[in-house]
Subunit: 362 residues, 2 copies
């Protein structure tokens, strides 16, 4: 436990995309300054930050200058190189810390960590060669999913192994890199918990939400998830176990699969993200404290904010690629809040913004 | 009616204080860029804007360069010099326009304009000399209030004329400048309407709110005001008349006095502000669309957003000067949202931030 930051302090953020941008805006709301570090000169987060650095994550001199200008460091993506994190951590607090990065950068380490907490996941086996893949498939069966251990997101770095799939070809198709084979969970819903843990160990979760994907990219989040209250309680308890085990500071997202087995809802962790999360964007318009403000509060050593939801139900929709062309129609929809990320080019699959609507159903 | 702006466009904002800062953040939420123009190198709005210019409002070269870099121009204060506005308006749309500035910069012009719309105000007489003041006091009686016609705010540029006040001394104490004498309205409440008019003439008002002042500075706003529904309807109709008469674009605030005369609520306009307003800060956490976003929508030629309130009641408190020292306690209050303006020095009377709380009373 260290001293809380005071208003006027500067938060350093690695990454200049929409998550960094929304963290920077939340920092500004609380009277803090943001300094964005990104290799991309076109980073949308630069537009809302008091300072920015354009440099590679491996540029140690730039990292040291950056660290000297900020009071705490956080990030918008879990693939921060270990060397980057250690250079920075020697100079300023990095929150969440290296343990959180280690537990989430590598799918095998992540699953082993979660399993060590007696939290269920999909069945999994580490796979380092085509031969090991054949043995793993023999054990977990088909269909199963081969995933690279590192750098996967939005369905990238994954291949489905069906009846008849050529295992050697599949292994090579992902680059013949260290991988993990996961059994397919026949889930009825994908849900997530977005929660925060403070420097003092306090914990606060938002409503468990349910997520609908299209082409492996999040399309829609609904809060609260239509699940049994006991299931929601169990999901939140899982997030708390993970956060406590990591002595975590900041917002954490835990994605889970829900299956119905013998008439009962069963949940298994799919993955964890040591950061604000797309499935928490609904909190920006739909909760008393947004996930971005909550993250800032947590990494500053401040009390966590109230996570209560507005209305009876909140729905968030991502605007992907050309979806953004409908911006005028969306602005005209009564009660719909539009958030755009300031990206100049609408490439296919690119997250351009989102909409949120708070419902007051009977 | 001109073409709406598109996301990616730049909003120029005159003034770098908290209102400019919150307009810039609302612009960013909608995928727009902000360019702040302010003579003050320490402007808190600079921290959340993609660009800023530090120059005097009379620097015509700087104004022209600024205008060339933006798509629409707005302001956070009504005392924009007429010459500044006309230099800018020749180059880019200024919204709200010169008519709105003219109607609000001079208390006498303002009252005459409002009266011309058959909207009641306090009784008033223009006063240009100590002799004219004596004649006006003979007519309106004591107590009455002498106000400078221009540059008054937060009780500055005002003097109460009591029994025994020396009129020549009072006139000189305000600088012997053109002034206006106003009869004292024995109000039971001060209320305000924050509303917006779009480029297409659409109109949307927030709940009428009531305002409590301390030492002439707004201390607390409660929405909705505890007034008769007919009174609220009348107040909103007054704001609409004013906005329509000015062919207004943007957010407008109308402050009114409420008196109870023969058992009936009577309202009189105190003043108008052609901008986002402190009594609308509750909308940031307490309404579907904040007044800042609403202003941006209006000046961009976009549809106005929904003005519905969250909860049954919303309360906003200003943090003035040393009030900000309580920031840690405020952060720990459940359900209280804290907004700080990023000002480095807490001078007495300076607005440093505000808190908002949404109540769900039965």
């Amino acid at each position: 436990m260290t001293e809380p930051l005071a208003p006027g302090a500067t938060i350093g953020i690695l990454g200049g995309g929409q998550l960094g941008r929304m963290i920077a805006m939340a920092a500004a709301k609380l009277g803090l300054k943001a300094h964005i570090y990104s290799p991309d000169a076109e980073s949308p987060a630069f537009d809302v930050a008091a300072a920015h650095t354009i440099a590679d994550y491996e540029d140690e001199e730039a990292l040291r200058t950056f660290a000297a200008s900020v009071d705490v460091i956080t990030y918008e993506f879990e693939n921060v190189p270990a060397r980057t994190a250690s250079v920075l951590a020697a100079l300023k607090p990095v929150r969440p810390d290296a343990a959180a990065l280690a537990a989430s950068q590598d799918r095998l380490v992540e699953k082993e960590f979660i399993t060590s907490l007696d939290i269920p996941t999909a069945p999994f086996i580490g796979v380092d060669s085509a031969g090991a893949l054949a043995r793993a498939v023999a054990q977990l069966g088909r269909p199963s999913i081969l995933k690279t251990r590192r750098f996967g997101y939005d369905g990238k770095g994954q291949a489905l192994i069906r009846e008849g799939s050529d295992l050697a070809v599949t292994f090579r198709s992902l680059g013949a890199v260290p991988a993990i084979l996961e059994g397919v969970v026949p889930f009825t819903k994908e849900i997530s918990v977005v929660a925060a843990r403070g420097l003092d160990g306090s914990f606060a979760a938002y409503d468990v939400c349910e997520n609908h994907h299209e082409h492996h990219i999040l399309d829609r989040t609904i809060a609260p998830a239509a699940i049994a209250p006991e299931t929601a309680g169990r999901a939140i308890a899982i997030a708390k176990s993970i956060a406590d085990a990591l002595d975590y500071a900041g917002v954490l997202a835990v994605e889970l699969f829900l299956t119905v087995e013998q008439g009962k809802e069963v949940i298994r962790v799919n993955e964890i993200a040591p950061r604000v999360h797309n499935s928490g964007h609904w909190t920006l318009d739909g909760a008393v404290t947004s996930q971005f403000e909550q993250h800032v509060r947590a990494i500053c050593g401040w009390p966590l904010g109230q996570t209560a939801r507005h209305g009876t139900r909140v729905e968030m929709r991502n605007l992907i690629g050309d979806d953004i062309l409908a911006w005028r129609d969306i602005l005209a929809e009564s009660g719909v809040s539009l958030t755009l990320y300031g990206k100049m080019e609408a490439r296919p699959g690119r997250k351009m913004g989102h909409t949120t609507q708070v419902f007051h159903d009977a």
